[in-house]
Assembly symmetry: C2
Amino acid sequence: MAAVEVENREWYLANYAPAGVPNSEHLKLRTVSLSLRADSIPDGHVAFQILYVSIDPYVRTQLSGLDDGLSLPQIPVGQVIRALGMGKVIRSKDEKFSGGEIVISHICPVAEFGVMPSNLLQKVNPADGIALPDYLSCLGMPGITAWVGIEKIGNAKEGSNVYITAAAGGVGIVAGQLAKVKGCRVVGSVGSHDKVKLLKEEFGYDEAFNYRVETDYDAALTKYFPDGIDVYFDNVGGKMLEAVLNHANHGARIALCGMISEYNKVWTEREGVRNLLNMVGKEVMMKGFMVGSYYNQFEEFVKEMEVHLKEGKIKSKHKIYNGIGSFLESLASLFTSSNVGKVILQVTP
Amino acid sequence: MAAVEVENREWYLANYAPAGVPNSEHLKLRTVSLSLRADSIPDGHVAFQILYVSIDPYVRTQLSGLDDGLSLPQIPVGQVIRALGMGKVIRSKDEKFSGGEIVISHICPVAEFGVMPSNLLQKVNPADGIALPDYLSCLGMPGITAWVGIEKIGNAKEGSNVYITAAAGGVGIVAGQLAKVKGCRVVGSVGSHDKVKLLKEEFGYDEAFNYRVETDYDAALTKYFPDGIDVYFDNVGGKMLEAVLNHANHGARIALCGMISEYNKVWTEREGVRNLLNMVGKEVMMKGFMVGSYYNQFEEFVKEMEVHLKEGKIKSKHKIYNGIGSFLESLASLFTSSNVGKVILQVTP
């Protein structure tokens, strides 16, 4: 049990970052006193110590001060950053939650402690053999994101040629394994040689390539997709999406999950895709999605994913950053190809 | 009955036109002798006099000598141009066809006479009160194209905000009327003041604007779609598609039918669409289509369309060019906003 009054360190937005990777000009750490005394916590609220925060590219789009295309609310200047996070209940003013329980929130403060309305929290009952961070990766938001893109939108089937960008990232690594479970041929692109090796040797990708080395995307796709692309799980957008449209098969499906190559630019500076006409001749279907719209299928997803995890058909991979002080570094790391797997900030050891 | 030997004038491809509007350097008329004697016509073939040829933008994409995005075969240099056409049977070597019957082919030569295998012909039994050219417009390929985009892909419903580009063209004019039948609010853009007037006064569009005058597309869409766009029937692509993505509502559907603004350019010179990220946040679905893939639904379409025509809810509008010599002029006219309605070449009066 934590003290009744804590010095809570939290990250807040000091200035908007319309372009570029956010740095210490934009995001700052501050310490605020937080009372955890029972009479300080409003009815229907829960106080918790934050264990893990999920570090995801979409967070960057809430720091630009611009309507940038993901339609997520901009965080007001001066306010605490919020992200998907997991904590342990310290004190509860809602009888449905008790001390020691594990909770998840999609708008958890990036801080050491939080006090939130209980209706914004979901309880987690960790199953045997499943590590807590898995509930923020394979079994959480990134996992269902991968599942929606591969199964619900991509309609990947046995023999489909599936291409995944940012393939060693938190979503990509699950998407690729899911496609392999479905019997697809899977190729991923990543930003380092080590990731290429890892995808092929540990995660069962049929092929993988480093887009920083094979910079002629058209040539790379010619090489890795001799039979064309049936399903594209797009995490990057821009020039790579354009190249994919030159290699899409008739009736191909493209799940637009995010466009990390474009997040650090204002929209008029983004790469234009010039060959959308290919979508007509090839009757390509392209659909953007926000995973929140599919949470009504969460149970179906978890049921399927737990089986894959237990059978060892899907493995998790985490890159853990330690301590609340590492948030900025962990966020910036998403844009430099320096991580493998789901990036997670471990706030409390 | 025509003479047994005719001097048949036909249009052929003299040179590919990779960019620009094709002209007399690329398309030329020649006269070839054609025997219509019974023993000159192969078994299973039908000889016919061509009455009407449908002039459609896709034909231009078969004249570039490049794989341009529609994935249609390029017409080999020296060969006759082919398009959707209608003729009257002169002589048949297939017992299912008789002299005087009306036939349609999707690869009819652009000529005065044709001899084709009967399996490439469909018979038309003109109904009372329906003019022959209607079978090349509302009740033909342009009609089902409009129907697929509005109903099957666009899923237009009562109250949907529907936007149609090239709205006074052969497909657009049917698409707009179909959307009105469904109870939608319909706005069209066109290239002349006369067309704006016509769409609003004769074809029931709620609003229409001239994109050559209102050149700030973003401002125009702000003005004409105060409640955003739910369904976009895209006939033009490029900058207009980009503007639409800034005004799309959550869950909007975009039917990509063609991109006439881009046909006269090689693909790397085409306008890039920079804001596809909007598709993610707004969960937009975009699907390209080639109408041939929907011909298995032709009966369902005709059944519905005939009712609309008989009830006067959908009207046809044709721009007729007279004589085989006018083909080049009629084709070029598609790219200059000079026509209203379906462009048809009347080969035989």
